[in-house]
Structures are given as C-alpha cells and as structure tokens.
C-alpha cells in the first residue's frame, strides 16, 4: 500500500529530476551550439578559472560529482580542444597542474555569461 508520505517524496524527487534535466539540458545544448563544449567541460573550465593557478586534478575531483576517470577524460577533451594545459608538478611528479590557455580563458569568459543566464532562466522557472 502506497502511503501519502511516499507520494510526496516521489513528487519532490521528480521535481528535482525535472529541474536538473531541464536546466542541464538547456545549458548543454547552448554551450554545444555556441562554443562546441558540453556542460561537464564547461564546469571544469569554470572551476579551473576560479582556482586560478595551483589547481591539481585531485582537488578538482573534490569539487565536482564527476568520477576521477570521467574528470581525466573531460580534461583530455579540453586539452585536445586547446582550452587547457596540463603542467607537470615539481614537488610531486604524479600530480598535474591545470591551467587555462588563452583560448580557454577567452571561451570561458563568454560561455560563463551564457551559463549564468541559462541558470537564471531555468532555476527561477516553475518546475
């Protein structure tokens, strides 16, 4: 027997899902169309842009729900796209520093505007 409380829970969950998919989808489509990068790529750019320098992969991993291997592959793509560079790190040669390239910084500046705009449009919207 389904309880009323259960229905509320399920509805709350659907709201979260719906907000998430609507927003993520909208951002992803626009970033893809205008800047040729996906949402995950943008979020990494955004984190790296924020941390300026001294940004290790490991630290990034803690600021995103992405898996370590997903992160590694996203960075691969960003690097292939010439938006980010991996700098090997002297005091621990297993680590890598990430740094935006000039192209990366430029693209991030524009994409961030689109990103914030879409967040605003979608998060304030009724579910």
């Amino acid at each position: 027997m389904e309880m009323a409380q259960d229905r509320e829970l399920v509805e709350q969950w659907r709201d979260i899902q719906s907000a998430y998919f609507r927003t993520a989808g909208a951002i992803d489509r626009e970033l893809e169309a205008k800047f040729n990068i996906g949402l995950n790529e943008f979020e990494i750019l955004d984190l790296v842009a924020d941390n300026a320098d001294a940004c290790r992969m490991k630290q990034l991993g803690q600021r995103t729900p992405m898996t370590q291997s997903a992160l590694s592959k996203v960075v691969d793509r960003l690097q292939k796209a010439g938006l980010i560079s991996r700098q090997s790190c002297e005091d621990d040669r297993r680590s890598l520093f990430l740094e935006l390239t000039d192209a990366g910084r430029a693209l991030h500046a524009d994409a961030a505007v689109a990103h914030r705009t879409l967040l605003q449009e979608n998060l304030s919207q009724p579910s």
Copy 2:
C-alpha cells in the same frame, strides 16, 4: 567581473546537482545490488505499475525526462529481464501497451520500498 548574484545562482545549481547525484547514485547502486535493475528501469516499472493497464509507450514518454529512444531501450531490457511485456494494441497497431509480468509486479513491490526509503534518507539530508 563575477556578480554576487551569479555566485548565488551557481551555488543553487551545485546544490541541485549534488542532491540529484547523491540521491540518484544511492538508489541506483542499491537497486542494482539487490534487484539487478538500474534507476531508469525502476522508474519505468514504477510508472507502469501506477498506470495499471492502458499504458502506452507514448504516454510513458510524457511522464519521464527520458528520450523516446532511451525509453524504448529501457523497455527492451525490462522485457529481456522478464519484468514487463509489450502487448500490441488493436485500435492503433503502431502503439504498444505495456504490462508488468508477475515477476515484474513482485520485484516492483520490493524495489519500491527500497526506493522510497532511499529517497527519504537522501532528500531530507543537508546538501
């Protein structure tokens, strides 16, 4: 220049993402471990269980953020797992009715309990 309002937006967005990933991940792992189905499979089972009979693919598509083709493949898997059956529909032979098998109904009953429990644990939690 980054505005304070933007930071709030981005934080709100991260909260949604985090709630979504934490909850979806927890449910998915548990359903996978105990019942050998994923979250999407469960959600379809759950919708079909709710709609009882007269449940067309098309209608399902409107109640989930899944793509039509994703839905088709999820139903494939559920059918292969013997949990659901596709019944062809007399008055429109392009349509299909979906129906839980006995195994499907049994699994859904158990899985729904786990599902609701995990929703409760995760949605009430602080982000």
